[in-house]
Amino acid sequence: MAGQPGTDEIRPAARPPGLARTSPGLTRTSPGLTRRDLLWRSVAGAGLLAAGPVLAACSSGTATSSAGASANAGTPKRGGTLSFGRQTGPTQLDPANSIVEGDVYTLDKIFEPLYITNPAGQLVPWLAQGHTVSTDGKTWTFALRPGVKFSDGKPVTADDVVFSIQRAAGDANGPLSFLDFAIKSLKADGTSSVVATLSQPWAPFLSDISVFANAILPKDFGGQSASAFFASPVGTGPFTLKSFVKGGNVSLVRNPHYWQAGKPYLNAVDFVYINDDNQRVLQLKSGQVQVISAVPPTQVSALKADSSVVLEEFPSWAVDLVFFNEKVPQFADRNVRRAINYALNIPAIAQATTYGTAKPGGSFFPPSLQYYNDVPTLSYNLSAAKAELAKSKYPHGFSFSLLVSSGNSQYVAAATIIQQQLKPLGITVTLDQLDDAAFHTAFEAFNYQAMINGATNDISDPDEMASFQVDVQNGGSHSFWTYYDNPSAIALVRQAETQFDDAKRAALYAQIQAIVAQDAPYIALDYPPNIYAWSPQLHGFAVNPGGAYRLEDVWLG
């Protein structure tokens, strides 16, 4: 894990026998289509006009996401109001109960966690100054950053941290509370240090702590009720809430007590809810807003050619895949899945369906994710495909239906190409299109044969994605609703969770990715980036691979 020089003492720990994977009341599940996915739901109606409902839709050659920041030379100017056009409007601001883009990327300007993920995808200490880990990997001590105040001027203490994380971990309805499952107890050690005792050695813990759900609030909401508190929230973030229309526009103003001296540069930020893709682009071009999220891939090349707009494709922890339901006898046959993988020309599919914005798929880990490995995959080879199918129980082909969400034009296009590319194998594909809400109900009930769907890691540690997609019993989704079950891969996932040595962990994840690539329980089609566009007068804007952007460094020139 990206540690903090001098403060981390990460020591390898012996793997304890018999890991308990679930804590009381919490089901240990993992990543999925979370934010993007929910975003689609919130805009499902947009199918009318939206060209590509995928929030993040694609990726191109951007090597690091800090590129955006580096392009912004000059001395920061103070002042101004930023109008930010986004695809979703927030519904509420409680960190522990949020998962939708509009909620998450509003509240993270108001509340901050102990660690955050920077645009390069590394964990950096934030409200914590650093941390230490005991030799058994079960006791984590966080030293709080001195001098941090809430927006009401009161200092942040260890009691606030204990309250906040305990609250997030204990919230049964918290969409991401599972990330805190390893916490056995939390206690304040004085006013500036917090000790977390884990039920088992847990390598991803720092990453778990960095999730927005674990952001720090005043203890007991400063004596108010939760609803009164979240109506006028108090946090340590660079901005505070000025006004908020549920599901609509939000205005934030500078937090005068912000702990980074001289920041934020902006006086205020207005998040404008603009659901329609064309509207977002046109409002940017007309100057009504200065930055927009979720630029549709169809418009990327035109905007890149437009000198009045800066466009950047930030790599994300997201991947689009074809999934096979192994309860269908054909897909339980490994040779069939491999044959299909060989028959698909993935680079061609990625290019055509994302307009060249996304890199073609390989490993099921996205390249921006820690421990990604460029493992050999079953790349396009029709004779190998035919040979694999000949070895299967269905040498002459079969038919199946491919489920897609009808609002997602990228997936519908991919499904149509797949339909064509499987014809030479004698495999007949019928397209099954459902609107997004119905699509979810169908696949979560295993009521599908094959589907195209997106997976997203929420944190910098790949364990979330690995256990969600590989660990059939304990991952929370029966290997992303496929029933893919490879005991040796599962054993490696478990091992990696308790392995604190970076090189050894990397080797374990490389093995996992290699096994999955050969088993082909799902096939990665592309890695969609988060695409943002902004006016050249905006400086210092960058997005991390989780899709989060911090605004304290942003200024208007």
Partner: protein
């Protein structure tokens, strides 16, 4: 007339109730689970079941329908599952946007229709008439989302006369935001009205009393406005009423294109996350609006035509 209006309103109750019940049942027939939309993909089946229970979604349909109707009878449209606030507060926030849009488009309709139809009728079968008829054909055939985007690019992005989208924060801001969507909606409806009014005027022009008016020595424009238009207007007013009711439906697309957070956008988003109470609430508002506009149309027609008796 008041008694007539009261009776018509009373007769509207079963209509609105019918719409409410049908919407309620249709929503529950389509697949998709609001609890899932709230909890996200990580939620365990137990969590989903718990929330469904909390929301009363695990009760038998007839029981849910009954509580919905009882609530409705008390003027309570329920609480949004997704936004967790009363549906009525969401509707009240969105209603002014949609209502202003409909009003502005209706004004544009009239402003476009009356001069063009008069021109066409007065210059029957001459170039002006043909031009108006071609214009109305083009307007009729142009999809509103396409025409709207053209207007945005020309008048908002290039010329900066109006805002690209959104609702603005001041009264003039609202007006600036409503011109283009209002025009877009009006262009889709005006052709029908122009044709109706033109044909109506032509019929009246042939009639004896117009000939008599001309024989008295009245000038052309005065004959056209005072005698012809007044009489030709009656079927057009009825048609306008029907089209405003239709317009309420088409605002759903127009609000999306122009980024107006009115009832249409509210309903589309609610359908996407299966926010049943919101969809039901908005549908009821639409139903009431259509009933009221039809009633107003009939009242207006009666005012214009003394032969019409309202009983």
């Amino acid at each position: 007339m008041l008694r007539y209006a009261a009776r018509r309103l009373a007769a509207a109750v079963p209509v609105v109730l019918g719409v409410a019940v049908v919407t309620f049942l249709l929503l529950r027939l389509i697949p998709g689970d609001p609890a899932r939309a709230v909890l996200g993909i990580h939620a365990s089946p137990q969590q989903v079941a718990q929330l469904r229970h909390q929301l009363g979604l695990d009760e038998p349909i007839y029981q849910q329908l009954w509580s919905f109707l009882v609530g409705l009878a008390h003027g309570n449209t329920g609480t949004s599952i997704y936004y967790k606030v009363p549906v009525s507060s969401l509707i009240w926030a969105a209603l002014p946007v949609t209502a202003s849009l409909v009003a502005v488009s209706a004004v544009f309709c009239v402003v476009i229709t009356v001069p063009l139809a008069s021109l066409a009728a007065a210059r029957q079968d001459r170039p002006a008439d043909h031009a108006v008829r071609v214009f109305s054909l083009v307007g009729l055939g142009m999809p509103s989302f396409f025409f709207g985007i053209i207007l945005i690019i020309v008048f908002a992005v290039d010329l900066h006369w109006f805002s690209v989208g959104g609702w603005g924060t001041t009264f003039t801001g609202h007006l600036r935001s409503l011109v283009l969507p209002g025009l877009t909606a009006a262009i889709a409806i005006a052709p029908v009205l122009i044709r109706s009014l033109r044909v109506g005027m032509l019929e009246v022009i042939e009639s004896d009393f117009v000939a008599a008016a001309r024989a008295k020595g009245l000038r052309g424009p005065r004959v056209l406005l005072a005698h012809v238009a007044r009489n030709a207007l009656i079927p057009t007013v009825t048609l306008l009423g029907i089209n405003i009711a239709y317009l309420i439906g088409s605002t759903v697309v127009i609000e999306r294109v122009f980024d107006l957070n009115g009832l249409g956008n509210l309903m589309l988003n609610a359908i996407g996350v299966r926010d049943f109470p919101v969809v039901q609430g908005v549908t009821i508002v639409y139903a009431i609006a259509v009933v009221v506009i039809n009633l107003l149309t009939d009242l207006a027609a009666a005012q214009l035509d003394p032969r019409v008796r309202l009983r």
